[in-house]
């Protein structure tokens, strides 16, 4: 029964549970939240009851103690129904929760992990800024030492879960910042909590192409006093934890593309059997066969790459960098192309909400940008590849 997509019976049981939950409770709400650009916080908290929000967190902090493969399974299954909702899950569970579980101090973990594993608090991660995205080390947010505390000043942009409604800030954030008196490569990571003076919601962004069921916000930091107890890791040493967390982020973003691709293949495969043209089902036509068969093959290729990488990834280790870039580079564009073909196979019916593929297509595009653009993956991978003489 073991296969690379479900290496243990527990992974298989997890997949079945999340699929059943997603089909019954996530799918039916997707269209409305996409349309109104709203985050479904009640449904999100149900993920906490199911033990999914702390999937990679050790049991001692109320997590579920599972691995990168389990995280991929959850993302793939949620995304097959609602990528926007899944993106909010990713920002919380991977970018905040897993990040803190791997890099946080004992006190920070004891204090916050149980509350983010249950969904009582909603978390996010702040790296990008209005003027620094791909060039992340060019960020301008500054942390200045003031006695035992730090003062944080700057702006963060594109922050998923930055707001939970039009006017309310999310609860807890991991924020990357620079120190003026250090060279450009030294970053620190801070826990910033709602209610700290000077920390506010700049704006909740509206009018996104896709991923509209997750919130995206600009956050403002004006001399926010952050106690030393909220420093995560060592001062100036956050680039390592950033890289480590980027690996699981990219892997699970790639798993989201798999969910989009699988659903799109299912939709076009069924439609091409049911719909008749010139007296025949659509799947008798060679051009339609090309769409369906190539989509399936590309989906399976991506799926093997993702799970092969996930099965090898230790959450607390460095490395695996090239393939976490590689899976996202391949799967993000693959997912977008497969959703595009699904629309094409459905013709006019693909262009409207009823069959979901137009929403999946809009959502799929983000995965070529967020968590690193495909160009950034190409850049990183080519640099890493240049160091290799031969491939294994």
């Amino acid at each position: 029964m073991a296969d690379i997509f479900n290496p243990t019976p527990e992974h298989k049981a997890l997949r079945e549970m999340v699929r059943a939950f997603a089909e019954k409770e996530v799918g039916p709400q997707a269209e409305a939240h996409d349309k109104h650009e709203t985050f479904n916080i009640e449904l999100f908290r149900k993920l906490g009851e199911l033990g999914l929000l702390g999937v990679t967190v050790p049991l001692a902090y109320d997590g579920s103690g599972m691995d990168a493969t389990a995280a991929c399974i959850i993302h793939e299954e949620l995304s097959a129904q609602d990528p926007g909702f899944c993106l909010a899950y990713l920002a919380h569970s991977m970018l905040f929760v897993n990040n803190l579980a791997v890099n946080g101090t004992e006190e920070q973990k004891k204090r916050l992990l149980p509350k983010v594993c249950s969904g009582e608090l909603i978390g996010g991660m702040c790296m990008s800024e209005p003027n620094a995205g791909t060039d992340v080390l060019g960020m301008g947010t500054l942390a200045t030492k003031d006695g035992d505390d730090y003062l944080l000043t700057g702006e963060k942009m594109w922050i998923t879960n930055g707001a939970i409604s039009d006017s309310d800030l999310g609860d807890v954030f991991l924020v990357y910042a620079k120190h003026e008196d250090r060279d450009g490569r030294g970053l620190s990571l801070f826990l910033v909590e709602k209610g700290m003076e000077g920390f506010s919601l700049g704006q909740k962004l509206k009018g996104k192409l896709g991923m509209r069921a997750s919130t995206t916000a600009e956050l403002v930091f004006e001399n926010v006093r952050v106690p030393a107890a909220n420093l995560v890791g060592t001062e100036g040493g956050a680039v390592k934890s950033m890289m480590r967390n980027l690996a699981i982020e990219r892997l699970t973003l790639a798993a989201m593309s798999l969910g989009i691709a699988r659903r799109s293949v299912e939709v076009m495969n069924q439609y091409a059997q049911d719909r008749k043209s010139f007296g025949q089902p659509l799947n008798r036509f060679g051009q339609i066969q090309k769409y369906i068969a190539e989509s399936y093959a590309e989906y399976m290729a991506g799926r093997c790459y993702v799970y092969n990488t996930a099965n090898e990834l230790a959450l607390d280790a460095m490395g695996g960098r090239m393939d976490s870039d590689g899976v996202k580079l391949y799967c993000s564009t693959m997912g977008k192309n497969v959703a595009d073909r699904a629309i094409q196979v459905l013709g006019g019916y693909g262009y409207v909400a009823e069959y979901n593929v137009e929403r999946l297509w809009r959502d799929a595009k983000l995965l070529e940008i967020g968590g690193g653009t495909i160009e950034a993956h190409q850049k990183n991978m080519t640099r890493d590849l240049a160091a290799l003489e031969r491939l294994p």
Binding site: M1, P9, E10, K12, A13, L14, E16, M17, A20, F21, E49, L50, G51, L52, V55, L59, S64, G65, M66, A70
Partner: protein
């Protein structure tokens, strides 16, 4: 209170059933298997009984070794231990009932909660036959269940409405859809289930011959339904019902 509940591994009811060209069975390639959905209601009710009255939930399946997956799902939902009576034989309801009767004699539960039928073969017999073999009272198609002082009060779905029945325990209750809202197996539940005891035995160990008394001759798909049609007037409806459908 000791509660015994049963689960059957069935083909995923959401998938289209395809019959083999020679009619000897259904195509099982690429088919996913799941816990029978009525059993989910039975397992849920068993767990609720335990929550309210204390005790132990034992979950039993009769079938191939792969049925451990469905038992583990019940354990992940909250059952305490599992028993698999392992056999690859084609089982009819009677064989299942005779196997379960032996398990019940060993386990001596206070109440047995089952699904009212399995969604693969839809036979709706195992619970009733088990009651007959054990000489236990039964209340089928339950939409509500209260247990007190050694009696179960069961609200039942019956043709044309509902009825209430009281049975003295030990007895058998089979679950219908309104009985509860089955919980999902949570991820921590799945991890805990891994360490819960699961005992395997065979029909031989229980002294039961599972040779089927029912012989399947052929599977056939039901005739495809004709598309509906909208008629203009009542007169036309009567005329069509009388002359085309020959229904009146």
């Amino acid at each position: 209170m000791k509660i015994l509940t049963t689960v059957k591994r069935v083909t995923d009811p959401d998938m289209k059933v395809k019959i083999k060209p020679d009619g000897t069975g259904i195509v099982t390639d690429g088919v996913e298997y799941k816990m029978n959905s009525f059993d989910e209601y039975g397992v849920e009710e068993a767990i609720v009984l335990k929550q309210n009255h204390g005790g132990e939930v034992v979950v039993v399946s009769v079938g191939p070794s792969a049925s451990t997956k469905e038992i583990r799902t019940a354990l992940a939902m909250g059952a305490d231990r599992g028993i698999l009576v392992e056999t690859d034989a084609e089982l009819d309801s009677d064989a299942v009932a005779r196997v379960l009767a032996e398990v019940v004699k060993k386990e001596q539960p206070d109440i047995i909660v089952m699904g009212k039928q399995a969604v693969d073969s839809d036979r709706n017999q195992a619970g009733q036959m088990l009651a007959a073999y054990l000489g236990y009272p039964q209340a089928t198609f339950a939409y509500s269940l209260e247990v007190a002082d050694g009696w179960a009060t069961v609200g039942r779905e019956v043709d044309g409405g509902t009825s209430t029945k009281r049975i003295k325990l030990p007895g058998i209750v089979t679950a219908d859809l309104r009985l509860n809202e089955p919980r999902y197996a949570s991820l921590p539940g799945i991890m805990k289930a891994k360490r819960k005891p699961l005992e395997t035995m065979t029909p031989d160990d229980l002294g039961v011959d599972v040779t089927s008394k029912v012989r399947v001759i052929k599977y056939e798909a039901p005739e495809e339904r004709q598309a509906g049609r909208i008629v203009e007037t009542v007169d036309e409806l009567i005329e069509v019902l009388r002359n085309e459908a020959k229904a009146i």
